[in-house]
Symmetry: C2
Subunit: 187 residues, 2 copies
């Protein structure tokens, strides 16, 4: 298909240094980390950063695509789990952990699912598709309310993940997710 010329040696080197530093910076300061800072730490001019990654999203997307694809793969794997609802819950919890790695990432992914023009849309959408099979299976097994959609579940997950990030201690997301599955009402 698309012919890909190999990158010039220095270009590739810089590209990789930038990704390393971006990973560090986003993990430390959240998705709003300073791009100039990333370039500085990578020992590269700001212009070079922008040539390789025209937008902040492009940089994030490069860092995240592999991770998201792994989540989709994991969904397929969990389809063989004997417990449909538990499998779904496990998948959601793991996805929540993944979007918790960078402060502010939840907002990005939640928005990406509703914005086809987003650079992250493709991999987010692929993940969504994979997850929806887990949802359907849990419904067919009679273990999950039929009137809940995959999108609503993902949004609830993102909400729990968001909330977990605004709680002092760790493990908040897990607890909230469990509450959501159980329901608050005494039955």
């Amino acid at each position: 298909m698309t012919e890909v010329k190999p990158m010039r040696a220095d270009a590739r080197r810089n590209y990789e240094r930038l990704l390393e530093e971006a990973q560090r910076a986003f993990a430390e300061h959240g998705v709003e980390a300073s791009l100039e800072d990333i370039a500085r730490r990578a020992g590269v001019g700001i212009g070079t950063l922008y040539r390789h990654f025209p937008t902040r999203d492009a940089l994030l997307e490069t860092l995240l695509r592999a991770r998201f694809d792994a989540r989709a793969e994991r969904a397929r794997e969990l389809l063989t789990d004997p417990e449909p609802l538990t499998a779904l819950q496990t998948w959601l919890a793991e996805l929540g952990d993944a979007t918790g790695t960078f402060r502010g990432l939840v907002e990005l992914t939640a928005d990406a699912l509703n914005d086809e023009s987003s650079r992250l849309y493709a991999s987010c959408h692929a993940m969504r598709e994979a997850g929806s099979h887990l949802v359907e299976r849990a419904k067919r097994a009679g273990e999950l309310r039929r009137d809940v959609t995959t999108d609503e579940l993902l949004l609830l997950l993102h909400a729990a993940s968001w909330a977990g990030g605004h709680l002092p201690g760790p493990g908040g997301m897990q607890r909230l997710l469990a509450l959501v599955f159980e329901g608050l009402r005494v039955s």
Copy 2:
């Protein structure tokens, strides 16, 4: 107690113009709206804005305090409602609407509840106290799980409100809140 000298006429005028424009700007652009822009539109120097409101939070707090106090009052009012769980749910939904007015406000209030040094802490905390009576009543009536805390409920509400703001259409928060109360599992 503290003697309060009346403000000079020009000072008061500017103070009020600033609040008006801040309300407009936050409603339109979210809590990150440009302060310089607010000062400009108010026909006032940036220095004047900072003298009246030393921080963004101070400005927000002035705008929000009345609103939050009204929420606390509403909680006391709902204590006389014949349906304890419904009353709680109503209160939470209304609170969710209130924190949905400015984009980014949910984050602020959620964080304020965990940060005593925040300028918003006082009124947030008062609201929390008022709400906790609704929670206790619903528990005593046997309509709400006993192992859920007020803080968890507020966090879930904030999460739902956050999620509602990341959904295209309106009414998302209400639907999510209902889901959380009902639970996802088939019982």
